[in-house]
Structure formats: structure tokens, C-alpha cells
């Protein structure tokens, strides 16, 4: 009975040896067929990854990292052959070996393991990216800010335009962020982070505004750099074009019937607007002014607002100012006022 158990265990151990005839170590760690190993610069000795191969009857071993264009001779020590490789940049390394045996027979070997080398630990690299976002946005440096975004970013051209628009409309921008979630994919080349952004800024007319948004940010590693490839729930970056309302009125939108002045107000944006004040002024022999409040106006829609003057205007010039208290930060603040003169 015991012999059988020992035989089974011995066979198992022998089988392991047969399957993995050559033994590999990467950075001092044993690796097996199919392994996927991620290494960071901090974990290396002098920035080099040490590859070691051990196999019975081996006389010489060479290694290549560029599919055989250049072969490096491995150093022999204590029956093993090793080579210290300094990756020039972040890369996925799949080494191949050229083995020469004592009987002068030769064999190439491409073990089925992959090394994912990254200079910076992904957490630190993404934090650096967020810091750059904050810095370039506060400095209103559009070209550097946009360089942090991948060309895969949805609606890329419009987003570039919207950032340019932000920097034209906003001054003295300050940002603060807080990371609420950090998740990476298996090989640390993709990530989704939830980042709470808070922004304070002045409009070109000097009015103070503040807003915030918990943005889900998708980031991908392209070459050496982490770049932003998607936003979800972004109400901050590019908001002057993407997520700010645009209230508009023109002279044709103003009507007069007896005491009543009617104004049709348009929201020309993709976001709703609300809680703004509309100012009505009638100037004739004397001026009378009145206000009406609008609580909500949907995206790409219009609303008719009527104000009744105390005295019936007679051949007046009626002026309507939308968002007269400047409560809403808009894409375009220059289309909020219109006047119309009615015949007597």
C-alpha cells in the first residue's frame, strides 16, 4: 500500500520535472509555463531584470528580447545561466533562449510566460496623471491638458474644442480631487477610477462659481504613458461647451398683447437649466420693470414666459433679459438680451 503511495507521489514529481525540463527564474522568482508576471522598477536591482535558466547538460545559453535580432550571452554560475536585462521603457517581455548542450546539440526555446514591466507602479502613475490634469487645467494650458487624453476618447474633436472654450470663459480656476475608487485590469494596462472633482472659478465678468462631479475615469496605458480614454458623469471638464446651458432670446421671441408681454426663451444646449430670473422692461414716457422666475427648462427646448405690466404699454420698446441675475454659467452669455419696438 505504502509502496503504491510512494510510487504515485514519485511519478507525480517526475512528471513535474518532465513537463518543466528547464527551470526559469525572473528577478529571483521561479516562474512556470503560462505565468504572467508584472514587475515594477522599484522591485528591481539597479533597474535590471535578472533572467535565469537551469537545465541538465547545458553548455551555453543565449537570450533575446527582440525575436532574435540580437542575442545576448548568459553568464554561467553554479550550474545556472543568467542575464541581467535593463528594459529601455515599459514593455511586455517574452524572451527566447538559444541553448547549446554538452553534446553540441542546439535548441531554441520560447517559454510560455510573459513579463509585464512598468517603470512606475500603476497607482503612482495614475496619481501623476491626475496631478498633471489639475496643474494644466489650473494653468489653462490647453495643449498640455489635451495631451493627457487618448485619441480614443469619445467625441475627441468636440472635447478639445470644449476645453479651449473653458479657458476662454473661465479665469482663476482651482481644482481639488479625491479618489474614491481605483481598479486596474489584470495586466495593469487599463483602469477605471472614480474621482470626485471640485472646481472653483471666475467667469470673464468676474462672477464666482463652484461645481463638483464624481467622474468615473477610464484610463489606458499607451506605450509608456497612461492616458484618459473615457469619462462618465463628467460635469466639470469642457463644461462650458458640453454641460453648460445656453439660454437664448431674440427680438422675434418677444410679443405684446395689451398689458401682457410674452417672451419665448430657448435652451440651446444638451443640459437642463432652471431657477433663473427673466427681467421685462418697457421704456416709453416712463419705464416700468418686472420679473418672472423660471424653475425648469429642458435641454433643446423652449418656454413661453408672460409678464403683465401694471400700465398698458403704448408703442413701447420692450427689453427682455434672460438670467438677469447671472445665476447660471452659460456657454454663451452674449445672447441673453433682446429688445423689440412695437408700433403704436
Amino acid at each position: 500500500m505504502h509502496k503504491r503511495i510512494f510510487l504515485i507521489i514519485f511519478s507525480f514529481l517526475l512528471l513535474q520535472q518532465m513537463v518543466f525540463a528547464a527551470e526559469f527564474k525572473v528577478g529571483g522568482k521561479e516562474v512556470r509555463e503560462g505565468d504572467f508576471l508584472t514587475l515594477f522598477y522599484d522591485e528591481l536591482e539597479a533597474g535590471k531584470i535578472e533572467f535565469t535558466i537551469t537545465e541538465e547538460g547545458l553548455k551555453k545559453a543565449e537570450i533575446t528580447f527582440d525575436k532574435g535580432r540580437q542575442w545576448q550571452v548568459m553568464e554561467q554560475e553554479n550550474g545556472s545561466f543568467s542575464y541581467k536585462y535593463r528594459p529601455p521603457s515599459d514593455e511586455k517581455i517574452s524572451p527566447q533562449f538559444l541553448l547549446t548542450f554538452q553534446d553540441n546539440s542546439m535548441r531554441t526555446l520560447q517559454p510560455d510566460f510573459r513579463i509585464n514591466y512598468q517603470r512606475y507602479k500603476p497607482d503612482n502613475a495614475v496619481i501623476k496623471l491626475l496631478e498633471k490634469m489639475k496643474l494644466y487645467y489650473e494653468q489653462e494650458n490647453a495643449s498640455r491638458f489635451i495631451s493627457l487624453f487618448s485619441h480614443q476618447f469619445p467625441d475627441w474633436v468636440k472635447f478639445r474644442e470644449s476645453i479651449q472654450n473653458d479657458f476662454y470663459n473661465y479665469k482663476n480656476i482651482r481644482l481639488r480631487y479625491r479618489v474614491d475608487r481605483r481598479d486596474f485590469d489584470e495586466d495593469y494596462t487599463g483602469a477605471v477610477w472614480d474621482v470626485y472633482w471640485e472646481r472653483r472659478y471666475d467667469s470673464r465678468t468676474g462672477t464666482n462659481f463652484s461645481d463638483n462631479s464624481l467622474i468615473s475615469m477610464r484610463m489606458d496605458k499607451e506605450g509608456d504613458a497612461w492616458l484618459i480614454s473615457g469619462f462618465s458623469n463628467n460635469l466639470i471638464f469642457g463644461s462650458s461647451l458640453l454641460s453648460s446651458p445656453d439660454l437664448k432670446i431674440s427680438s422675434q421671441d418677444i410679443g405684446l398683447a395689451g398689458f401682457d408681454v410674452t417672451a419665448v426663451i430657448h435652451n440651446k444646449s444638451n443640459v437642463p437649466a432652471g431657477n433663473f430670473r427673466v427681467k421685462f422692461t418697457s421704456a416709453e414716457s416712463f419705464t416700468q420693470t418686472g420679473y418672472e422666475d423660471v424653475t425648469t427648462l429642458g435641454p433643446n427646448s423652449q418656454i413661453s414666459v408672460t409678464h403683465t405690466f401694471a400700465v398698458e404699454p403704448d408703442a413701447p420698446t420692450v427689453t427682455v433679459v434672460v438670467d438677469s441675475s447671472n445665476a447660471i454659467s452659460e456657454i454663451n452669455e452674449n445672447n441673453n438680451q433682446a429688445s423689440r419696438t412695437f408700433p403704436p
Binding site: S143, P154, V157, R181, L214
Partner: protein
């Protein structure tokens, strides 16, 4: 009997010990004290006026633990603080997962990020993932979970700042045929918003998506790929009436890769009601993009692109906006190891209702040289913006940047330093006025053989806008020291940072002072 047990234990040890020797367990625990002090107009600052807070952070990580023929792995990260700027909750679990895998299967429970494809599922989840098979031949992935920021959202009522809690489920089947020349993947994904986490002005959705991805290596130079996706979306599950809107997204692309030239071409069309589980995709948009890279003689690299798109495919908006963005960039090496880069880019936006008609021309040049002891960079960018509708938007900018970045060693002490200057002059055509701003940055870091490190940074910016009442001056000073105390295990760091903001009139001036001391232990 005892001898037998010892023998058996010895043999089992022979099998298991090598595996256990691969096991890795690591942990970092750190404790910090933070002090905030705001001078001047305190209402303008993000920080508390005068407050001391504490912060405790810890991680445990284990991998390569043998478990019934599988490798077990896991991680937990947690944080405890009374600093509301860092974490609005007193204690929170930042990340937590554990799982087991072998060559052909994997189970993972906890936090993970999974991306099936652009038009199906790409979410960070708290849930369960099962994977069977090998990605080189065929593989099946099944997953389900909740897409939400914090673990606390799973057992607490809706928390302030929590954007959403979305239930996600999905399956992906990956197949490789024709000696891996053809890849064919099938995706199914679904998502349902938790109504309690959606405020009254937004609508919770339910979506189911089917997508087919393919990639085919036509020959050694050309690869074609595609994704066809159909979504079925109920855009408001709150009102109870089922009103599913089907819509589709299509992506067709080719990659050309010959010796000296690469060209990526991709066409995509995304419907107005097309939805993914993640919300990262655009909607109601058609794009046609080309991106090429030509390696010319004398080590010259020519990058060129054309991005174009139009919205309102559904014809549901009052206007349709089209955008065109061609551009190119040359990279070349001049004598004396000087690198030169110059580029031109044009962006044009115009709409059918004639409300939008603007162009932006950007011309950039950049010179770089590595002098060995330091790296230098000089850049000049000219940007001209024309707008046929709103003349107030018309302006031209000249942006000059200069940077030096050096490193040297003196008596075993490593010095790294940097210096940069950015100058931005923007002329506004309509008012014949100009904005002028300058930013100066400088930094120095000394690393001693004992691992003692001193770092200092300073930054000044001066913004003179043509509207004088928005003028500002900002400054930022940073001083930090750090040292490893016991080997690589125990370390401390201390830093002080001051950020000052001065505005026209002086009433809004303020300055943030932040002091932080941190002690961390790693094993």
C-alpha cells in the same frame, strides 16, 4: 504508525514546500498627521480654516498561495481618517478582492475591472468573475456585480457624492480560429441602475447589449477588425412602463503596417439611444478617423491624421454639428543632437442652423537637446481662433515655453533639478486687448546615501487679463524631507506646502498652509 505519518508528512512537504516558498505576503501600514491653516478670505479655500486631522492607511496583499492545485491571491486596502477632504467617511475599505486561478480557470470575488469591448461592457465592479479556458484558443468569462464607488454603498443608504449604484452582469466568449488569424468574440452585457442612487432630475436605466467583435489578419500587412453591437434600453425604469428602445453601434477598422508606414482607419456610428453598461461611449455620433505614421529617410517621422464627425444622426435635435480636424507633425533630428518637432492642426466646427462656425489653427514647434548634465526644451505655439458667428470669441495666442531638467552627483549626493518658464499672450480681436500670463517653476531634490531626501519646489504665476478685475497672482512653495529608518521597512516623511492666491482688489486674497507628517511600515 508514527513513522509512516512522518514519512507521509515528509513526502507531502516535498511536494508542497516548493509551492509555499513561492507564496508572497506583503503589507504596508502608515499613519499621518495633517494640519491645515488658511490665511485671508477663508471662504475662498477648499481647505478648513484651522484644523488638525489624522489619517491611517493600510494594505494587505497575498499571492502565490497554493490552494488545491490553484494559486490563491487577494488584497485589502483600508483607510481611517477624520479628514473630510480625503474621505468623507471615518473608515472605509478602499479595495478588496480575493480569488484562485490555475492555467485554465479563475475565480475572483471582490473589486475588479473588466473590459469586454468598446460597445458592450467596461466596468469596475464589486462582484464575482469566473473565467474558463485559455485566451489563446477559447475562453468563457462570466461576471456579475455592482458598479459603485465604495464598499460602504453596498450596505448603507445613499451617500452624498455617490454618483450611482448600477447592477451589472455579462458573459463573453472568445474564440481563435485559422491558426489565430481570426478572432471572433461574442459579448452579452446588462445593467440596471439602482433607483435610490439616481436623483430626481436623472432617469435610472435598464440596458441589455449584444455584440460581436472580430479581428482578421488578412496578410502580414493588413488587419481588419469590427464590432457590431445592439443595445435594448429602457431609459427610465422609474415610471414603471416598459418602453425599450433598441439601437445599434458599428465600428469598422483596418490597420495597415508595412515597413516604413502604418495607417489606422476606423469608421464608427453610434445611435442616439445606444447605451453601454459603463456610459463611456458617445451617442448619436458618426466618426471617420485616419491616423498615419510615416518613417522617412534621415530618421524623420511624419505623423498625420484626419478626424471627422457629425452628430444628430437621429435628426432629433434642432441642428446638426459637423467637425473636421486634419493635422500633421514632423519629428526629426538636427545636427548637434538637436531634436526638432513641428506640427500644424486645424479644427473646424459648423452647424446647420448657422449658430456655430468656428476654426482653430494651431502651429507648434519644439526644440530639444540632451546636454548630458541636463535636458533642455524650447517650445513655441501659435493658436488662431476665428469665429464667424460670435466675433467676441476671435483671438490669437502665442505660447512660449522653456524648460531645463538636470541630474548630477556630488560627493555621493544625487541632485536632480528642474526649471521652467511658460509665457502666454492672447490677443482678443474684437476689443483689441490682450491677456498676458507667465508661470515660473523651479525644483530641487537631494538624495543622500543614507536615503535621506530633501525636496523643494516653488512656482509663481502672474495673470494680467484685459478685464482687470480678474487679474491674479499665485504662488506655491513646497518643502519635504523623507528617510528610510530601518532597512526598507520603516520610513518617515514630512512636508510643508503653501499655496497663495492674490486677486485684483485684495478682498478675496487667501493662502493655504498644509503640513503633513507620515510614518509607514512595510513587510
Amino acid at each position: 504508525m508514527r513513522t509512516k505519518r512522518i514519512k507521509l508528512l515528509l513526502v507531502l512537504s516535498l511536494i508542497l514546500l516548493p509551492s509555499f516558498s513561492l507564496a508572497e505576503v506583503s503589507s504596508t501600514q502608515s499613519i499621518s498627521g495633517i494640519y491645515y491653516h488658511v490665511e485671508g478670505n477663508k471662504d475662498r479655500s477648499f481647505y478648513p480654516a484651522n484644523e488638525a486631522d489624522n489619517l491611517y492607511e493600510g494594505t494587505f496583499d497575498f499571492k502565490n498561495i497554493p490552494l488545491k492545485g490553484h494559486e490563491a491571491f487577494g488584497n485589502i486596502e483600508y483607510r481611517s481618517t477624520d479628514d473630510k477632504l480625503i474621505d468623507p467617511q471615518g473608515f472605509s475599505i478602499e479595495r478588496m478582492y480575493m480569488g484562485a486561478r490555475d492555467q485554465v480557470q479563475e475565480i475572483l470575488i471582490g473589486d475588479f475591472y473588466q473590459s469586454f469591448s468598446e460597445y458592450s461592457l467596461s466596468n469596475a465592479l464589486k462582484g464575482l468573475k469566473l473565467s474558463f479556458g485559455n485566451e489563446k484558443s477559447s475562453r468563457l468569462i462570466l461576471l456579475g456585480g455592482i458598479d459603485t464607488s465604495r464598499w460602504e454603498n453596498l450596505w448603507e443608504e445613499r451617500h452624498e457624492d455617490s454618483a450611482s449604484r448600477r447592477h451589472i452582469w455579462g458573459a463573453r466568449l472568445e474564440n481563435n480560429y485559422l491558426n489565430k488569424k481570426l478572432a471572433l468574440n461574442f459579448n452579452y452585457a446588462g445593467a440596471r441602475d439602482d433607483k435610490a442612487f439616481i436623483n430626481s432630475s436623472n432617469s435610472p436605466i435598464l440596458v441589455n447589449i449584444l455584440s460581436v467583435e472580430s479581428r482578421y489578419d488578412i496578410n502580414s500587412f493588413v488587419t481588419a477588425y469590427s464590432e457590431l453591437s445592439q443595445s435594448f434600453t429602457d431609459e427610465d425604469i422609474r415610471d414603471g412602463a416598459v418602453k425599450t428602445r433598441p439601437d445599434h453601434a458599428v465600428k469598422l477598422g483596418t490597420d495597415l503596417n508595412i515597413n516604413d508606414y502604418t495607417l489606422s482607419s476606423v469608421y464608427s456610428r453610434i445611435g442616439n439611444h445606444f447605451t453601454t453598461t459603463s456610459g463611456f461611449s458617445a451617442q448619436d455620433l458618426e466618426t471617420l478617423n485616419f491616423y498615419g505614421l510615416w518613417f522617412l529617410p534621415w530618421n524623420i517621422k511624419f505623423t498625420h491624421y484626419l478626424y471627422s464627425d457629425r452628430d444628430n444622426l437621429s435628426d432629433t435635435k434642432a441642428t446638426t454639428t459637423r467637425q473636421l480636424n486634419p493635422g500633421g507633425k514632423f519629428n526629426l533630428n538636427l545636427p548637434l543632437d538637436v531634436g526638432l518637432e513641428f506640427s500644424a492642426d486645424m479644427r473646424k466646427r459648423f452647424s446647420t442652423d448657422k449658430e456655430t462656425n468656428g476654426k482653430t489653427y494651431t502651429y507648434s514647434s519644439r526644440l530639444t537637446r540632451d546636454f548630458g548634465a541636463f535636458f533642455s526644451e524650447f517650445g513655441y505655439t501659435k493658436e488662431i481662433i476665428s469665429d464667424r458667428i460670435y466675433s467676441a470669441n476671435e483671438r490669437s495666442s502665442d505660447i512660449i515655453s522653456f524648460a531645463l531638467d538636470g541630474y548630477f552627483t556630488l560627493k555621493d549626493v544625487n541632485f536632480s533639478w528642474n526649471l521652467s518658464e511658460d509665457i502666454d499672450h492672447t490677443s482678443h480681436k474684437e476689443v483689441c486687448e490682450a491677456d498676458f500670463s507667465t508661470t515660473t517653476n523651479a525644483g530641487l531634490k537631494l538624495t543622500f546615501p543614507s536615503t535621506f531626501t530633501i525636496e523643494a519646489r516653488l512656482s509663481f504665476s502672474n495673470n494680467d487679463y484685459y478685464l482687470n478685475d480678474t487679474d491674479s497672482e499665485n504662488n506655491n512653495y513646497f518643502l519635504g524631507i523623507s528617510r528610510q529608518l530601518v532597512g526598507d521597512s520603516l520610513a518617515f516623511s514630512v512636508f510643508y506646502e503653501r499655496k497663495g492666491y492674490s486677486y485684483y482688489g485684495g478682498d478675496n486674497n487667501y493662502a493655504d498652509n498644509i503640513f503633513q507628517a507620515k510614518l509607514s511600515y512595510t513587510f
